[in-house]
């Protein structure tokens, strides 16, 4: 990991907070989009999306293109097989188009496996070889293409949905290319499933009201990212980069990262939803005040909703869900969370984080609804759940299991010295207080936008102005979820 907590890549993708995006890409895109005839608009979206992605690494566009072509073909193949099957249907015959789904799975998951997990696999193997005194396997590290986890999942959901009969194959390639590459949610979600986008790609409404709502979403997301998340980033960075922390310093670092991650990612999701609304698309809600949860189960209904529902529908339920008895349910739950952790990154820390989350989910399910915990006051349950989440983020953020252990030890009071302790600046302290106030004092962005309060919208304009001024000053921090 580099200083920003991101894997070392040759260059950063365009960020929504980049001047190139805000003052060149977006005005040009919106201008062309609204000036163009409706039939050209999908092409404009696709062209700008490929440009958006190519800014980072033009050669990796080929990868996305390959995934697009593969799944478009697979979708057509499944559709054709299903149409044929309606004439030759036999009782008990397996669902038609299975081989196309396998091809799509192999293609997408193969891409993901190579680009995301090959380095990890080789490193682990070399570690083992070293234990036995064997020479390491020669390997050139693979660069992780930004957003590959998101677009492969989206693309995969298309073929699976068609196979299951939840969606119709797309008729025009341009619509599918537009769906896979759509820049607002291309690199960090929300994960948009084809079944909820198919109709919108063909027909959607554009209105001033919708555009206005999109602007409000975008402004809120931008403010969350720049004013809150980026202000907390140095504190988290300094804590997780330190060898020795006091208990207070460790908690300060963990809390800062907890809020940084939430406002960074939910800010990005808000911006993506806003951009989508500006061009008439409705994307899924991704966050619903997760830190207001009273249990880990509830937390997972509110955090990264598009991923958790994807894992539920495409992994947990196909594994059998809760339909095959108690023990199998717990295994399925644990496995789903483990793989969910691994999806975030190829490292033992992510696996540990997934296992940690799975443990609490299983425990809550085992305990049932009538437990002592459920009788505790609501505020106390919120606090306990929040603490468990904060502890979980330590695994998520740490560069290694050793660092996670060190951090948790410091948080538990087993602290060595204060030599490298965290100091919090005035602006970071203000951001931390503001983050807590927004987290527990304000409703979600969606609720605020739906409220249509003039006062709130005016306040948001002030925040937007402050955000732009801050953006024009120092360098800003890349979005954390770009690494996944």
């Amino acid at each position: 990991m580099d200083d920003g907590g991101l894997p070392a890549v040759l260059s950063s993708p365009v960020l929504f907070t980049d001047a190139e995006f805000l003052y060149a890409f977006l005005p040009a895109f919106l201008g062309l989009y609204y000036l163009a005839q409706e039939r050209f608009r999908p092409w404009i979206i696709a062209a700008f999306s490929y440009g958006f992605y190519a800014w980072w690494r033009p050669d990796f566009v080929i990868l996305m293109w390959a995934s697009t072509v593969l799944d478009y073909s697979a979708g057509r193949g499944i559709g054709r097989a299903q149409r044929l099957a309606t004439f030759t249907a036999e009782e008990g015959a397996r669902r038609p188009g299975r081989s196309w789904v396998w091809l799509s799975c192999l293609g997408n998951l193969g891409l993901l496996a190579y680009f995301k997990y090959a380095n990890f696999g080789v490193d682990t193997l070399n570690g083992l070889l070293a234990q036995f005194g064997e020479p390491p396997v020669a390997w050139t590290a693979v660069i992780l293409p930004v957003g590959i986890s998101f677009y492969t999942f989206q693309s995969l959901s298309y073929t699976v949905d068609i196979y299951r009969g939840d969606a119709e194959p797309v008729r025009r390639f341009r619509d599918f290319a537009c769906y896979v590459s759509m820049f607002p949610q291309l690199v960090a979600g929300p994960i948009v499933r084809y079944r909820s986008m198919g109709q919108q790609l063909v027909e959607r409404t554009h209105s001033m009201r919708l555009f206005g709502m999109g602007v409000l979403f975008f402004q809120a997301g931008l403010a969350k990212k720049v004013l809150l998340a980026d202000s907390l980033a140095p504190v988290a960075q300094s804590a997780f980069g330190s060898d020795s922390l006091t208990t207070v310093g460790a908690w300060l670092g963990a809390l800062s990262y907890t809020f940084q991650l939430y406002f960074d990612f939910s800010g990005y999701s808000d911006m993506a939803i806003g951009l989508g609304l500006m061009i008439g698309f409705r994307f899924p809600v991704n966050f619903d005040r997760p830190y207001a949860s009273r249990s880990i189960t509830e937390f997972w209904r509110r955090w990264h909703i598009s991923l958790s529902s994807f894992l539920r529908d495409y992994l947990y339920i196909p594994l059998g869900g809760n339909r095959k008895g108690g023990a199998r349910t717990y295994v399925n739950l644990s496995l789903t969370m483990l793989l969910g952790g691994l999806w975030h990154g190829a490292a033992w820390t992510f696996i540990a984080w997934g296992a940690y989350q799975g443990f609490w989910l299983v425990l809550e399910r085992l305990a049932g609804r009538r437990t002592l915990y459920q009788r505790l006051p609501s505020a106390l349950r919120l606090l306990l759940t929040f603490l468990l989440v904060v502890i979980g983020w330590v695994f998520f953020r740490a560069d290694s299991m050793a660092q996670a252990g060190q951090m948790l030890a410091s948080m538990a009071g087993w602290t060595g010295s204060s030599a490298g302790d965290v100091t919090i600046s005035g602006s970071a302290a203000a951001a931390l207080a503001a983050a807590a106030a927004v987290t527990w004092g304000l409703p979600s962005t969606q609720a605020l936008v739906a409220r249509r309060s003039a006062l709130w919208m005016l306040l948001l304009q002030l925040a937007f102005a402050a955000t732009l001024i801050a953006l024009h000053s120092a360098d800003h921090v890349p979005f954390l979820y770009f690494q996944f």
Binding site: L10, S11, V14, D18, A19, E20, L22, Y23, A24, L26, P27, L30, W55, W56, R57, P58, R193, R195, S196, T205, S207, M208, R209, L210, F211, G212, V215, L216, F218, I273, L277, R282, F283, P284, I305, S309, T423, S425, G426, S427, A430, P443, S444, Q446, A447, A450, R451, R452, A454, M457, L458, L460, Q461, F464, A465, L468, I469, H472, S473, A474
Partner: protein, 630 residues
């Protein structure tokens, strides 16, 4: 508050035609306003930056060349082109240039924070430049002052040999004299000033400790709050201490020192913190409590309000070659006007040879030029900020100038650009296969190359080194695995340095060429008067005592060959009588590095330079001893 219910698949509920809440006219108006604000900000910024960009940054020299090179090397495929575009946009954005300082000033004023990592904020909003606080590695490792002290002592010995009283005046760091306002969480190493003075004393260098003078001043009179330089009040105080120390204070100066509030003072740390000089956001921060002083010619006005009407005293550096002042100040731009104050207190002209920027001994480069034709000064104050002495030993390009005899210790042996070959490297980086007669060149001509031979082939032969004013041949014997070849020049040679392989027998030879990055030197006295040898040559000798030669010990010699252009012979002799001879060609002023590895284990006794009889006047400016080339 009741959260809106998500639709199937969790899509946002703001579906067209499905308003959940009735929108008031005010809310509608505000929403339209939000759209206008949003689009205006985006399009407006784009338009301003496109049609009214900031002028391109004024880069010069290597900075410019480096910037252009990065532009040229940028490629779309690896994302570097995109990065360069972003950098160009940032540099030319007028909106950024206007709004950025507002944010930086707000941070500084309301949170006592700096928008730049270069600037640290201490108590009461005082600013400190991070690299000045503790030297090269802020808070990480203790900076060494040993080498700086040795270098300064070497220079001092040579100057003292001219009959000049050399007084070193290290200016304590801001973080030392303002310790109570220094930033927290940073290791300040407050004892370094004392150690440097002690070390210089050990070397026999006369010094002035300015710390007691600083202690007697109010905080605003010590250093400037928003600047990296010391305050003028402190410079006035220091001037008094310096003339007292030298015993040259005048009891009745003919000039007068007046407080000059009309003079501006520097605020460079605000610039480093992202608030440029022309930004109106500065007015939020400046209190104008700093004092400025000026030396004026006439007697004090009775009416203090009219003090500024007096004629400014002439600057003390108007001396001409044959009438150089007996008092001289050399040092850095860290102390502008210090010469004026010294001249005032001493009531005597002071030659101000201070030189901006660069290495802390750079200004000595001017000394010999200035005093070449006249008597050397009686007193020479050498002022330098202590933090500059801490930077010694870092990887940076220190230019060696051979036109004076005092900066020889400042060897520039840091890579300035990669070595280039006329053919592509065979494998890896830095490995060159050099055909007979082919060249490798150093981009800027300032390097010392360590050539390590690998591969087969006898590799016997001569390697010759050519620069603009020196050609030297270096034998490479078959058994030799490593060769150190100096490439030293007085100016940017830009490809003029050539290393030529003239290997006999072996058509090719694989070598690895790396750049030597450090060289410790111990100073010796200049050459003895010229003497005529029996073979008709004229020779000058530098005598060494108690010097044991190790592998890669070296002599670094500065020769002033006058108008001579032609062959010269260099000899090193040991106590046992063993002699090594090098032959070279040179002209003008040259620097030569002799690798004495062949004498390893012996004691060096002398170094000689011989020119043919009849050569015009020439001399060995200096010959220094390098215990080991690394």
């Amino acid at each position: 508050m009741k959260e809106p219910t998500p639709e199937p698949d969790g899509l946002v509920v703001i579906a067209p035609g499905k308003p959940r809440v009735e929108e008031t006219p005010m809310a509608r108006l505000t929403r339209v306003l939000a759209v206008i604000v949003f689009l205006s900000a985006l399009v407006g910024t784009a338009a301003v930056d496109l049609f009214n960009p900031l002028p391109a940054p004024a880069l010069i020299g290597k900075e410019r060349a480096n910037f252009d090179r990065l532009d040229q090397e940028a490629r779309w495929l690896d994302g570097t082109k995109a990065r360069r575009i972003a950098i160009h946009r940032r540099l030319s954005s007028r909106v950024r240039g206007t709004l950025g300082p507002v944010h930086a000033a707000s941070l500084l004023r309301y949170f006592h924070e700096s928008a730049s990592e270069q600037v640290l904020v201490g108590g009461d909003g005082w600013l400190f430049l991070d690299r000045q606080v503790a030297g090269p590695a802020k808070g990480q490792r203790r900076p060494s002052i040993d080498r700086s002290a040795a270098l300064l002592a070497a220079a001092a010995r040579r100057i003292t040999a001219k009959g000049t009283r050399f007084v070193a005046v290290p200016v304590p760091r801001k973080s030392t004299v303002m310790a109570d306002l220094a930033p927290s969480g940073i290791e300040l190493f407050p004892s370094i000033e004392g150690e440097l003075l002690e070390r210089l004393g050990d070397h026999g260098v006369e010094t002035i400790d300015l710390r007691p003078m600083f202690d007697g001043l109010a905080p605003h009179d010590r250093y400037l709050k928003f600047d990296s330089h010391w305050a003028q009040a402190a410079r006035v105080g220091a001037a008094g201490v310096m003339v007292d120390h030298a015993g040259v204070r005048s009891s009745a100066p003919s000039t007068r020192l007046v407080e000059a509030p009309w003079l501006s003072y520097s605020t460079d740390l605000l610039r480093f913190a992202g608030i440029p000089d022309d930004s109106w956001a500065r007015s939020w921060l400046l209190s104008h409590s700093e004092k400025t002083f000026e030396v004026r010619a006439r007697a004090p006005e009775r009416d203090p309000e009219r003090a500024h009407e007096g004629k400014r005293a002439p600057r003390p550096i108007q001396a001409v070659k044959d009438r150089m002042p007996p008092l001289a100040l050399f040092g850095t731009s860290f102390s502008s006007r210090l010469g004026d104050y010294l001249a005032h207190f001493a009531d005597s002209p002071v030659f101000d040879g201070s030189q901006p920027g660069g290495f802390f001994l750079d200004s000595l480069a001017r000394l010999r030029q200035c005093y070449n034709f006249g008597a050397w000064p009686e007193v020479l104050w050498y002022e330098f900020p202590v933090f500059k002495a801490l930077r010694q030993g870092q990887d940076r390009n220190w230019t060696l100038s051979t036109s004076q005899g005092f900066s020889l210790s400042v060897l520039p042996i840091v890579p300035t650009s990669p070595l280039r070959a006329e053919m592509a490297p065979t494998t890896g980086t830095g490995r060159l296969a050099i055909d007979r007669g082919h060249l490798i060149t150093s981009g800027n001509g300032i390097a010392m190359v360590r050539v390590t031979r690998e591969g087969s082939g006898p590799g016997e032969g001569l390697w010759s080194l050519r620069t603009a004013n020196l050609t030297a041949e270096v034998p490479w014997h078959a058994a030799r695995k490593e060769l150190l070849i100096p490439i030293i020049a007085t100016h940017d040679l830009g490809g003029e340095v050539q290393l030529i392989a003239k290997a006999n027998g072996a058509p090719t030879m694989d070598v690895t060429a790396t750049l030597v990055t450090d060289l410790d030197l111990e100073s010796r006295s200049p050459g003895t008067p010229e003497r005529v040898r029996t073979d008709g040559q004229t020779t000058q000798t530098v005598t060494f005592t108690g010097v044991t030669i190790e592998r890669h010990s070296a002599i670094v010699a500065h020769l002033d060959l006058g108008s001579w252009q032609g062959p010269l012979e260099l000899r090193s002799r040991t106590a046992t009588g063993s002699t090594a001879i090098w032959r070279a060609e040179g002209a003008g002023q040259v620097t030569i590095v002799l690798d004495l590895s062949r004498h390893a284990g012996e004691t060096l006794s002398s170094f000689e330079v011989s020119l043919p009889a009849g050569a015009p006047p020439w001399r060995i400016d200096s010959a220094d001893w390098a215990p080991r080339l690394r």
